[in-house]
Symmetry: C2
Subunit: 418 residues, 2 copies
């Protein structure tokens, strides 16, 4: 091996949103959950992490940059992932560059990792799930790891529980597993993103002045103090998992929506049953739920499912494009932007939904009529400024290697972030 | 019997606040609960219903006025109470007025009832509990009903479940009972108000623009849809009831507070687990909880317990006067009144707590330093205008007959509200 070479690999990994929730670990260090969970993978075109991993005999230590800023890799979770991946590395040969790395070399070689989220990291949009999944996936590819995505997911799980579900596109189940060592706690794909491609997802990023409890400490406190959590994990979730798998298999939106909404609410109920209680949803979240519930109940069948993770943001899943355009009208009616906001920065992602809804500019928002389901004499309250922005997206694919070198985040000559 | 006489009786009945919550009926029409509950009776000096009941052969029908406005008595719940009380009426003789009513006369005689709450009826302060209890208690006295308070409580229960707990002062348990006819679903006194007279209660009446789900329909929906409610009722509450009885017996504030807070939160968790979800607490309620939790955790032992009924108002129970004055300082620091608010209309009830806290006017509120438990660098948020007013009170006595005729709400000559 020459000492000047640098080998890089770039990959892109999606975020995911759970529709049957993961809340509570039975093993803190291995990150083994108290119940199965099911998620929808989000289109990486709108929400994803891109990671470039680089290896070189010139690197003196493992280093990582997130969104251009160096971060520490010393945490147990990063170290678990790096150790597990290194243990599975195999011989790598790059004939073009004249590089040969043998299985045993990987223990000595250091890595540079640069990761970038195409969405705000702190906005509560599962950036750690996409990030850890991308770290494991890209290292697996770089090191020619032979394990399949499910086995990689069990490694990603040790970095961030829900990261394991980002190893697949479409609809994914994280099986809690039974083994003490966690080897069978991994993700499987229930169906790919093409199986149910009518669905449209709108995320409302809710303004919040509250400092939120981290999900790691929150779920620890729930396991320790909630008297409802074990009942949920043992009695409620197993039945819901079966029903949700069936709903996804049959593209049965009514069941899908009922299960997703009920499970999101139950997860937040367990948070509230924690001592001290954890509040992730705020009044805006509640208003979004009320808007969706009222509309769904005015229709013959549910049009939209909602689900909330460990924060106030709403993830709204519309049954199809038509429902999505009616949804964005309602959302913009109840949650108009602050004056002088550019619509282009208020509705992000797939803007064709906005076009379908007949909304081009702020004037169209102000002209929206009240939704027909408001039959009260009381005029509907407008909640200007309570939503920071919306992202229109859809179920999406799993991780991919980006072969276009221009997308790499590390300079192949210096080994440092571009 | 001469036809011109009118016989009246006036009584006063307190409200109560549950510290182990009632949520869910096993029988809708008899109002039989799915679990026992425990409450603290509030001092009627600050929160009570006064009711005058009048009977006269001149009255042509049963009529009722609430806060001076005539209301219908045709509802099943009123009718149940009136029927049950009439069935237990006995001979009445008023020698002074020369009136004799025999047991059988009561079936034919009509009643005029006038009821007045000394607190805002719509503010979510258990006005129906005090109101129904007062109706049953005053009619029982008027009709010389021989049954004791527990047996009267079983009648009041059929008017409004939690009303049964307003038949006693101090600390009261509503035993769910086992009988199908509800005869053993009644209230008993655990201890009177003198048993633990250190406690001070501060109620924060929270401003809300939300229309709330009524507790009657809310608990019906919870019973039908929550998958956590039965587990709570069967597994969690029975143990808590025993522990709460013990805490009250021993005046063990740490246990009392832990149980009351956890049970309030679990009741709201069950509401959230209902489909569609029910939100009674709002962001202000959450902020009050966070304030109390933070303070309690900064002290060696809890200083304050919180509990929330079917609305955003906080009922805060301080371990003693010292804790209450520190609490009102914190509450006024975080929730100062709007400008131009008179402190006399912002803190109602027992104003000596305010004096203990060294607060005379609005200037003293503005000069309050941040509570010492705020150690973050981030300055604490002020939430001006989020609380409408505070009421300072304490545990109080049960129903009493008011013999002073000037307190009667019905004119003994006209038989109509004064």
């Amino acid at each position: 091996m020459a000492s000047e070479w640098i080998l890089t690999l770039t990959a892109q990994t999606p975020t995911n949103i759970a529709v049957i929730k993961y809340w509570g670990k039975r093993d803190e260090s291995l990150i083994l959950p108290v119940n199965d969970s099911i998620s929808v993978t989000l289109d990486p075109g709108h929400l994803c992490t891109t990671t470039t991993v680089a290896v070189s005999p010139a690197f003196e230590q493992d280093r990582m940059w997130l969104n251009g800023k160096e971060i520490s890799l010393s945490g147990d979770r990063f170290q678990s992932c790096l150790r597990e991946i290194r243990a599975r590395a195999t011989d790598v040969e790059n004939k073009e560059k004249g590089i040969k790395i043998s299985k045993k070399d990987w223990e000595k070689l250091h890595l540079h990792i640069s990761s970038f989220n195409n969405f705000p990291t702190a906005a509560g949009l599962a950036s750690s799930a996409a990030g850890l999944a991308c770290l494991v996936f890209s290292l697996g590819k770089l090191m020619n790891v032979q394990e399949d995505h499910s086995q990689l997911s069990a490694i990603a799980r040790q970095g961030s529980g829900s990261a394991c579900r980002s190893l697949y596109g479409g609809f994914v189940k994280w099986i809690m597993g039974k083994e003490e060592n966690g080897s069978d706690s991994l993700a499987v794909q229930l169906a790919d993103e093409k199986h149910w491609d009518e669905l449209v997802i709108i995320i409302a990023v809710v303004s919040s002045r509250q400092k939120e409890t981290s999900s790691t400490s929150g779920m620890r406190e729930s396991v320790e103090t909630s008297l409802l959590l074990q009942h949920r994990a043992k009695e409620v979730v197993p039945k819901r998992i079966l029903k949700m798998e069936e709903a996804i298999q049959n593209r049965d939106f009514a069941s899908f929506a009922a299960l997703a909404c009920a499970d999101s609410n139950q997860f937040h109920a367990v948070c509230l049953d924690t001592s001290p209680p954890i509040f992730y949803m705020n009044d805006t979240s509640h208003r979004i739920i009320n808007c969706v519930e009222k509309w769904n109940r005015s229709e013959e069948a549910p049009q939209v499912a909602y689900t909330f993770d460990a924060g106030p943001n709403a993830v709204l899943i519309a049954r199809n494009r038509k429902a999505a355009s009616l949804l964005i009208q309602r959302l913009l009616y109840y949650f108009p932007p602050n004056p002088e906001t550019d619509m282009n920065s208020y509705v992000l992602g797939d803007k064709s939904i906005l076009k379908d809804a007949g909304i081009q500019g702020i004037d169209d928002v102000e002209a929206l009529p009240p939704p027909p389901e408001i039959k009260d004499k009381i005029p509907a309250q407008k909640n200007r400024g309570e939503v920071s922005y919306f992202i229109c997206t859809r179920p999406g694919r799993g991780p991919v290697v980006l072969s276009d070198e221009s997308q790499a985040l590390i300079d192949p000559k210096t080994g440092l972030p571009k």
